[in-house]
């Protein structure tokens, strides 16, 4: 967002009002965002294929078939698919563990072919996608964070203000979201506090968490950077956390897309492509 920039303010003369077309997203934000959308889809889908090679998760330094898995996706003798978390098991036949692929073939495998890259089982190829685009993911985020510190995007647009983190303000914002009331006029120039929390947690917690737990699974990096293992409690814990952070990101994206749809997808997506955004008209 660049409206807080005094130079832009000067050219628009008076404060903008509902109906005006204003500058919303910086070029760096727009380029990072779409690079990241493509990269994230590749990372997620190739990651699910890699998970299929050993659909069990453990805590600690080691973990293999003889050890207790806290999460497992598989197929039973009775030909049902299941997901087990701890001692709770859910029947997921058709979606997870046992499903039918595009050619009508029934497969006993964790994630279905429509969710993985490549669609058929190929650990070597999935690792190539994942371990190549991990560089784009990591370097892209690092460059974006550095740029956003330098141009104050992080501090001005994403960091909630003291006023915004008052419980009363947060509660009011939650109520507005629940009633699907979106800000209009000048109030729509800035991200609201829930948006700020969501974006900040993606940018400084979830994506960095993915990158760091991913690095912790590399035996080469374990030698070069052994502190990573201490940080996450061992390689298999890092693998579990990698999976949990990925679920967190998927959760964010579901809500994110729902919000874009509710707030007016054309105007929203245009603002993330061209940078220009039409302020919603005041409701009075």
């Amino acid at each position: 967002m660049s409206l807080t920039n005094p130079a832009t303010m000067a050219t628009t003369a008076a404060a903008p009002k509902g109906g005006d077309l204003v500058d919303r997203h910086r070029l760096s934000t727009r380029l990072w965002h779409w690079t990241n959308v493509v990269t994230f889809v590749i990372m997620l889908m190739s990651g699910l294929m890699i998970f299929n090679a050993h659909p069990r998760l453990y805590w600690g330094a080691y973990g293999a078939n003889p050890d207790y898995a806290w999460l497992q996706i598989g197929a039973t003798q009775a030909n049902t698919g299941f997901v087990r978390v701890g001692s709770v098991t859910a029947d997921t036949t058709g979606i997870l563990g046992r499903w039918t692929d595009g050619d009508g073939q029934v497969r006993n495998r964790a994630f279905p072919s429509w969710a993985t890259l490549p669609a058929s089982y190929n650990l070597a190829l999935a690792r190539r996608w994942h371990l190549t685009f991990a560089w784009v993911f990591a370097v892209g985020l690092a460059a974006y964070l550095i740029r956003s510190l330098a141009n104050r995007h992080l501090t001005r647009d994403l960091l909630p203000t003291a006023e915004e983190i008052r419980p009363a303000h947060i509660w009011a914002d939650i109520k507005h979201h629940a009633k699907l009331q979106f800000p209009t006029g000048v109030a729509a120039l800035r991200y609201n506090v829930l948006q700020k929390f969501a974006y900040l947690s993606v940018l400084i917690a979830l994506i960095p968490g993915m990158i760091l737990t991913g690095s912790t699974m590399s035996p080469g990096l374990n030698a070069a950077m052994p502190w990573l293992l201490d940080l996450f409690g061992g390689r298999q814990s890092a693998r579990s956390l990698h999976f949990i952070f990925a679920i967190g990101l998927v959760g964010f994206i579901v809500i994110h897309l729902a919000m874009v749809l509710l707030a007016g997808p054309f105007n929203e997506v245009r603002s993330m492509i061209t940078g220009r955004y039409r302020l919603p008209k005041e409701k009075i």
């Binding site: 069990r56 330094a61 293999a64 003889p66 650990l123 371990l131 190549t132 070069a224």
Partner: protein, 250 residues
């Protein structure tokens, strides 16, 4: 106002790169292979840059896996190997040759008589699981000192006794890993002679890489200048057959 402002040029370049790369990945198999091949090279170079001689983490006995599963071949089919197995590897010999000044062979008892290193390390399978075990064996560097590598040598190829449908297992490592202090030829696991399932009589431990690099049933170590003429040329059985990366540090 000119249409070609610095801003519009940057915008155009940025978005065409994103769209162009994505379209290339979807539409062009050769572009896709080119891009997807770059991850391994970047990882290899980065790891060598930041941790060339770094040691893999070692663990205590209390941190060991109670049950260390086997993987890959667990019983080489060759008649030769079967004979060695029946005679407890008494006549088995490791051959070290290729680009070395003095090729040599070593019996199992000769190897066991050499100074050994013991390490408790984590074994990471490419599929995702890990197991911690205790390995005792001869540092590969000590063996190489006895045969003297020629200056043209760049890789060590480990030829194994096992095969998958007639294709012999083999693996290869660079000289940084070959001379790394934790790279050993293990003859003992968890204080007992290496079992057949885990690669008797001798397997490689190259601790900063994944499981498929830990060649079992080693018969011969060959120093070479290139990997192109070995197997199908990719540096290892799985590399040749299904395209796993040769550098498996990640």
């Amino acid at each position: 106002m000119s249409l070609l402002t610095r801003r519009s040029v940057l915008t155009g370049l940025g978005f065409s790169t994103i769209i162009g790369t994505t379209a290339g990945l979807v539409l062009s198999p050769s572009f896709r292979d080119l891009i997807l091949g770059s991850g391994e090279k970047l990882a290899y170079q980065t790891h060598r840059l930041i941790g060339r001689n770094a040691l893999a983490p070692e663990f205590t006995e209390s941190q060991m896996s109670p049950d260390f599963r086997t993987n890959g071949n667990t019983m080489p089919a060759s008649a030769d190997y079967q004979r060695h197995m029946e005679t407890d590897f008494a006549n088995w010999q490791l051959q070290v040759d290729g680009l070395v000044a003095t090729p040599k062979t070593f019996s199992l008892s000769a190897l066991k008589a050499l100074p050994a290193r013991t390490q408790i390390t984590r074994h990471d399978c490419v599929e995702g699981w890990s197991a911690i075990g205790k390995w005792t064996g001869v540092p590969l560097s000590a063996l190489l000192a006895q045969v003297s590598l020629l200056p043209t040598a760049r890789y060590l190829v480990l030829h194994c006794a096992d095969d998958f449908s007639g294709n012999a297992y083999y693996e290869s490592i660079d000289l940084v890993d070959a001379f790394h202090p934790q790279t050993i030829l293990a003859h003992t696991m968890n204080d007992t002679p290496l079992s057949v399932g885990h690669g008797a009589p001798l397997r490689l431990r190259v601790e900063r890489q994944l499981g498929y690099k830990q060649a079992k049933y080693i018969m011969r170590i060959e120093a070479t200048a290139s990997l192109a003429k070995i197997g199908l040329g990719k540096g290892g059985f799985w590399e040749d057959q299904i395209g796993y990366d040769w550098y498996a540090g990640i």
